[in-house]
């Protein structure tokens, strides 16, 4: 048998990366054309691939965006380890295709959505949101996604649906952090139905115009900008409509420290640290934390008359 040495390949035969990417994008276009055709040409799900047809939105901020590198290397995603760098290092084992999201519970139209159907469910838009972590740091991130209410509307919640529960994938083979019992897996989060229906509440599938990297919660995650980051469940496989407030993963882990609402609130401290200030990643001085993370004008109404110290 004749084995060609590697230098047999002419330099002209090697595809330059920009052409290669262009072809990928073209194939992706074909994939969309062949909608639903599971016959091989599925759209490229790789992180970093540009999402097509993303519209600008009115949700912009006059603040510097956190660099892509920081957004994607400084993460809390315990499914891949508890260190900030662990998710970026370990999330390669997560397979985002095939992927389905089950819509169930108190709805007239339950169903199982394929991720590629979800990507076309509603027009994708870019929204620049602040993200405030309960640990006292923050970022500004340009997400790509569509409002959660688009799905809720289609599912037609019944009169019994008062809360929405979000469940993250539970598969220790893909999520090595789940081999440790640091939280009770699967990760569960929840919103009141009116919070879930709020126009600010986003289902994100990308950031910086590109497909979500795994460590950021690919292929689909929640973004609730007026709540602490942990409320925004990542890598979602199930959205359940329920009558009672769901018992979230962090409430189960430390009920005294993490409440169901977990709205960003500089006046209500974490039992062990202050929430009055935050360090914006990339900045030297701490800045004051804003009530509802600066989204008070849009969401304060949801909590009128509620004692936010009690419902923390």
């Amino acid at each position: 048998m004749l084995i060609h040495p590697a230098d047999d390949i002419l330099p002209s035969e090697i595809t330059p990366p920009e052409i290669y990417r262009e072809r990928r994008r073209f194939m992706q276009g074909l994939g969309v054309l062949a909608a639903g055709a599971a016959l091989g040409a599925a759209p490229d799900a790789e992180a970093g691939v540009k999402l097509a047809g993303v519209r600008a939105s009115a949700y912009k901020l006059d603040e510097d965006k956190t660099p892509y590198k920081d957004v994607t290397t400084y993460n809390n995603f315990y499914e891949f380890g508890t260190g900030k760098g662990d998710p970026a290092e370990n999330a390669g084992s997560l397979k985002t295709r095939p992927w389905t999201v089950a819509i169930e519970g108190e709805v007239s139209k339950p169903g199982i959505y394929d991720i590629d159907t979800l990507l076309k469910l509603a027009p994708l838009e870019e929204r620049v949101y602040r993200l405030r972590c309960v640990e006292g740091w923050s970022m500004v991130i340009p997400w790509v996604g569509f409002p959660l209410r688009e799905i809720i509307r289609r599912a037609e919640p019944t009169g019994n649906a008062k809360y929405v529960e979000f469940v993250t994938l539970n598969d220790p083979r893909q999520m090595p952090g789940q081999r440790s019992r640091v939280l009770d897996w699967p990760y569960v989060e929840g919103l009141r139905l009116d919070e879930a229906m709020h126009p600010l509440t986003l289902l994100a599938v990308g950031l910086y115009g590109e497909v979500l990297p795994n460590q950021s919660g690919a292929p689909i995650r929640l973004v609730v900008p007026w709540k602490y980051g942990f409320k925004s469940a990542k890598s979602i496989v199930k959205i359940r409509f329920v009558e009672k407030p769901p018992l979230t993963a962090w409430m189960r882990a430390a009920p005294r420290e993490y409440g169901f609402y977990s709205n960003v609130n500089p006046q209500v401290d974490h039992p062990r640290w202050s929430q009055a200030k935050e360090r914006r990643i990339g900045e030297f001085f701490k800045r004051d934390t804003l009530m509802f993370n600066g989204y008070g004008a849009q969401v304060a109404e949801l909590y009128r008359g509620m004692d936010l110290k009690k419902f923390f």
Partner: protein, 220 residues
């Protein structure tokens, strides 16, 4: 036989400076990650704890090896622990709180993990101040009593770490276990154990030495 280092103290001091050198190199090359201040705080805190534990391991090591001269390095190790504690404290008041006395005071009073860390740091100061030969002579027996504070300080350090983490206790617990072991080795029972281990070790070496001499003899 290992070749004795000519200046063991200088070498140990160089090794003790490595964590600081690492921070400086990483800082200069942008390698401190997305949240450099958190990185520096964590790193200096970690090396304070390591320094305390290394200092506390000198006595058990002496008992285990019978090398009394190890005591010569204890002062320097303790002072390095204090050095990193100082860097940790400065990082907190300067980089984290930016010299805001009201915020710092509130933090120290209200946040149990900061209260504890701050207490541990305050308690380290008299130990550092009285670390000189002159002070040892002046304080006499009371010097030893005073310096027993390090047990409490190390304990406070571990609790400080335990209380600050959000959920994953594994790392602070590792330090807790190491500290517990080092403290147990100081109890009468632990001391006996160390001495037993040592005499067994010495006896084994003696046997090996004899066998070696015998073997060498028969080869001639």
């Amino acid at each position: 036989m290992p070749i004795p280092l000519r200046q063991p103290k200088a070498w140990i001091a160089l090794v003790c400076l490595l964590p600081l050198v690492r921070l400086i190199v990483l800082g200069g090359s942008g390698g401190l990650g997305a949240n450099p201040i958190e990185f520096i705080t964590r790193s200096t805190g970690t090396w304070t704890l390591v320094g305390l534990l290394v200092t506390l391991s000198v006595t058990p090591l002496r008992r285990l090896t019978g090398r009394a001269d190890l005591i010569r390095y204890r002062r320097m190790l303790g002072l390095f622990a204090f050095f990193y504690a100082g860097l940790h404290f400065i990082t907190y008041i300067w980089l984290d709180q930016f010299f805001d006395p009201a915020a710092i005071a509130k933090d120290i009073i209200k946040r149990p993990f900061i209260t504890i860390g701050f207490t541990a740091f305050l308690l380290l100061i008299p130990l550092a101040v009285t670390s000189t030969h002159a002070m040892m002579r002046r304080l006499g027996r009371r010097w030893k009593q005073l310096h027993r504070l390090i047990y409490l300080i190390a304990l406070l350090g571990v609790v400080h770490y335990l209380w600050l983490v959000k959920k994953d206790l594994s790392e602070p617990l590792i330090y807790g276990v190491a500290l517990a072991l080092l403290l147990v080795m100081r109890l009468p029972w632990g001391v006996t154990l160390l001495q037993a281990a040592r005499s067994r070790f010495v006896a084994a070496r003696h046997r090996v030495g004899k066998a070696g001499a015998h073997g060498a003899g028969s080869a001639q």
